[in-house]
Symmetry: C2
Subunit: 152 residues, 2 copies
DNA sequence: GGATATCATAGCACGCTACTAGGGTATTGT
DNA sequence: ACAATACCCTAGTAGCGTGCTATGATATCC
């Protein structure tokens, strides 16, 4: 009796890896230094105590998601694509970690079909968990966090 | 400049692996067949379409967490340690996946110290995410899910 | 034209997941 | 007694994702 073909998930889908953590730190740094001039990655890396080279790769994901713009050359760097008040933690999370999906079949984006969907009870549980997470991350803007930071 | 020593997280901490999914399915099966007699694992495996041998390992975790009791020998099997109304999804989740902790430093249990804790702004974000998840999983009992299942 | 900065690709050690394999032990029904 | 049933225990392993490092190319300003 081979059941190995029944595997539903091939990995891990709701998680916070260092990507999400570092990505938010970087975005927050850009938000705190938001202005006219682009901010070189090096200074972000130093302030946030991160590997500059690794950060390069991470910010590439943020650029791909159109959350930041880049300026090449000397005196170049990165700037937020929108104002801090128009960027949420959810935007950053999804850019770094993909869609919120405790389970593939309850992904907020392109949920994977499952032949048990009709009678799978636990599905509704993880869907509610997903909604709980989404509510939180979509309601917090970078501006909110900057304001919090100033209080410290 | 070696920054590799700064790694904050060594893995992945908030996730739903197949363990959590399968574990909840098994517990739900036990709840639906809750009564006097123990339920053999084989029948759970067949009904839920899971590998029996793998299920053995998973249910060992549930037993360790005192969520189920076992009866050995012929006609033996497993029974819920408490009534379905006294068992929550959170109980099952924690037995299978460990404490809810999007980040080690905001684990609901033994949070790991972090030297940036005082001024780390993103911390509060993940703490709120954690609370959102906890609220959901601790408020749903197995009895609730059985009732939902009957409606289908 | 060189210093500064972004961009692109490749590769790798490690740890975890999702199992499978193969046995052992306890209890029951006949 | 004894076989059948069911729980119990330890190893091992393929595959995958993470968290980097390494190397170099390309663009732009002064």
């Amino acid at each position: 009796m081979k059941i190995s073909s029944l595997v539903i998930e091939g990995g891990v889908f709701l998680r916070l890896s260092s990507r999400g953590h570092y990505g938010l730190k970087a975005m927050l740094d850009l938000a705190q230094n938001f202005g006219e001039k682009p901010i070189p990655l090096r200074s972000v890396a130093v302030r946030q105590n991160l590997s500059e080279h690794y950060l390069e790769q991470l910010i590439a994901m943020l650029k791909k998601a159109a959350l930041v713009k880049s300026v090449r050359g000397s005196q170049g760097g990165y700037i937020l694509a929108r104002e801090p008040s128009q960027l949420t933690v959810g935007d950053v999370f999804r850019a770094m970690e993909g869609p919120v999906a405790p389970l593939l079949c309850v992904s907020e984006e392109n949920p994977v079909g499952c032949d048990e969907a009709d009678y799978c009870i636990s599905r509704s549980v993880w869907a509610r968990v997903r909604d709980g997470i989404v509510d939180v991350i979509d309601s917090i803007t970078l501006e909110d966090l900057c304001r919090e930071a100033k209080k410290l």
